[in-house]
Amino acid sequence: TFRVTVRDALNQAMDEELERDERVFLLGEEVAQYDGAYKVSRGLWKKYGDKRIIDTPITEMGFAGIAVGAAMAGLRPICEFMTFNFSMQAIDQVINSAAKTYYMSAGQQSVPIVFRGPNGASAGVAAQHSQCFAAWYGHCPGLKVVSPWSAEDAKGLLKSAIRDDNPVVFLENELMYGVPFEMSEESQSKDFTIPIGKAKVERQGNHITLVTHSRYVSHCLDAAAVLAKEGIECEVINLRTIRPLDVESIETSVMKTNHLVTVEGGWPQYGVGAEICARIMEGPAFNYLDAPVTRVTGVDIPMPYAKILEDNSVPQIKDVIFSVKKTLNV
């Protein structure tokens, strides 16, 4: 096996896809000569040059629009937002120009673009730089929304996203960039991809299902380890994709465990957990629930700066453990 950080896995994915298809290119702020604001694109400009790795001015609406146009004209851009908070400057291009066009044109015009960058809370970056956009983008038909957790997720899903002929919003996480993971032998193949729209069971268990995405997969696995000592076996599902949501995997699990807790970093109202609750109620798994679904989410406030406040604004492992026990009524 290979021990690779999420950052390097993303780098490998882009490198391989840039090599494989000359239509693929990367644009964004500081992606080229600076090696990437978070060093995700390190070495790529040196290898591929100005035509494939493009530094843009600090003008999100502008360069996102240019990227969408390029995709419409037949190229395969990767448009990086330094963080997804900045994507709000360009959101009209993502939704109205990218997501809806194939529909509006009745199938004539596709938009094979990837919008990627860090999403959600970081450490001490305060209110304007900490928002999770999974729910906002996950709301829109025409978009695929992916949220990897591990290095293998990152590599396989980014390659799929780049090869996908549709607009994909690829939500990374800054706190995960430096985290190393074991990667399988097969993940080293240049054709290794992970399908978009399919969740993964990271840990099997019989008592309760934990559904989560991105960084919180780690929290859930840690909580599961603690709970196992008390005889509670959690099944942890890593969503991998927000849209389309793999409801079937969740239902299969819930029909086995009869209990469900969703865990996310974003705000509760109209969020990923809320959607999962609704979908469970609309499907066969509802009748298997022994308790209402519990959502563990970020606190419903703008992200404060002070450490003590920030720590208490996002789900902690103890919140997951607490919620599992409450749901199981133990």
Partner: protein, 338 residues
């Protein structure tokens, strides 16, 4: 140590300053300006305080006492101080993330600013905002996201259309994060980018130049002529933020050269000394006082307690009855008051 009475010092002197480049203007700010001894001392003290405050922030950041983003202003002091010298505290000012200097000139104390950086309850935003989100009366922050171009032009249009008394200031420090202006802008004559809006290009390292230009610009606005642009040519010694060493996209020689030839504090100091407006000892004394103020502020900022958890959810809405806020799980219900 020689004792000199105030009668020994020149009370005011006239200085020759660089002429501003103008765009769509028949007149330009004066090139001969008067500075009094008191003004000089005040500018010196303010810029020195700002400088030392930023350097202290650098230190605290490296010690991990300040977290997150920290965009330092050292090198650009003449901009904030010069601008404030040309307007009044009842005028309104807003800026982007490199905001510590403006928070100070707009009335924030060093103590409150530093305690905000360290995330304590004595911070100017009670620890909730952090480096980029500081506010005080007639100062609207401190903003983290810069939509660099489109919105500016929309604003120029409306400001000109409606003759709004607004001064648009571009602190041109030659780099947008790690990208030089030449690589980011088709035209780097930012003072001309207002097109039909008149503009000035100003030496942003000279506090008198900035002050004079600001006075000129403020007069223009107050006399009903509409908006005006000011491009201040300045320089930041630090990188874009504390996570940017600032030397991958520019040379150390460049930074040293600016420090050696154009440092705003040195420029002012030389002027005052060579015109007999202050003594070396007097300025040294100010330095000592400033150092103490910063040390005291840092002491406060590192010992003041963090904000109380009970206040986590406050300040969602203004003038509204208290509401309940969902915590991380359905059983945690938190209180929020205006």
């Amino acid at each position: 140590m020689s004792v000199r009475s105030y009668a020994d010092f020149t009370t005011q002197a006239t200085f020759e300053i660089k002429k501003c480049d103008v765009h769509k203007l028949d007149e330009a700010p004066a090139t001969q300006v008067v500075m009094t001894r008191d003004e000089g001392l005040q500018y010196y003290r303010t810029m020195q305080t700002m400088r030392r405050m930023e350097l202290k922030a650098d230190q605290l950041y490296k010690q991990k006492i300040i977290r997150g983003f920290c965009h330092l202003y050292d090198g650009q002091e003449a901009c904030a101080v010069g601008i404030e010298g040309g307007i009044t505290l009842s005028d309104h000012l807003i800026t982007a993330y490199r905001a510590h200097g403006y928070t100070y000139t707009r009335g924030g104390t060093v103590k409150e600013i530093m305690a905000e950086l360290t995330g304590r309850r004595g911070g100017i935003a009670k620890g909730k905002g952090g480096s980029m989100h500081m506010y005080c009366k007639n100062f609207y922050g401190g903003n983290g996201i810069v939509g660099a171009q489109g919105q500016i032009f929309e604003t120029y249009n409306m400001a000109a259309l409606w003759k709004l008394p607004a001064i648009f200031v571009c602190e041109n420090n030659r780099y947008g994060m790690g990208t030089s202006v030449e690589r980011a802008s088709a035209s780097t004559d930012y003072y001309k980018r207002g097109d039909y809006i008149p503009g000035l290009r100003v030496d942003g390292m000279d506090v008198l130049c900035v002050r004079e230009a600001t006075r000129f610009a403020a007069d223009h606005c107050r006399s009903g002529k509409g908006p005006i642009l000011m491009e201040l040519q300045t320089y930041r010694y630090h990188g874009h933020s504390m996570s940017d060493p600032g030397v991958s996209y520019r040379t150390r020689e460049e930074i040293q050269e600016v420090r050696g030839k154009s440092d705003p504090i040195s420029l002012l100091k030389d002027r005052m000394l060579s015109n007999n407006m202050a003594s070396v000892e007097e300025l040294k004394e100010i330095d000592v006082e400033v150092r103490k103020e910063i040390e005291d502020a840092a002491q406060f900022a590192t010992t003041d307690p963090e904000p109380p958890l009970e206040e986590l959810c406050n300040h969602i809405f203004y003038n509204d009855p208290p509401l309940e806020v969902r915590g991380t799980n359905p059983w945690t219900k938190l209180k929020s008051v205006s």
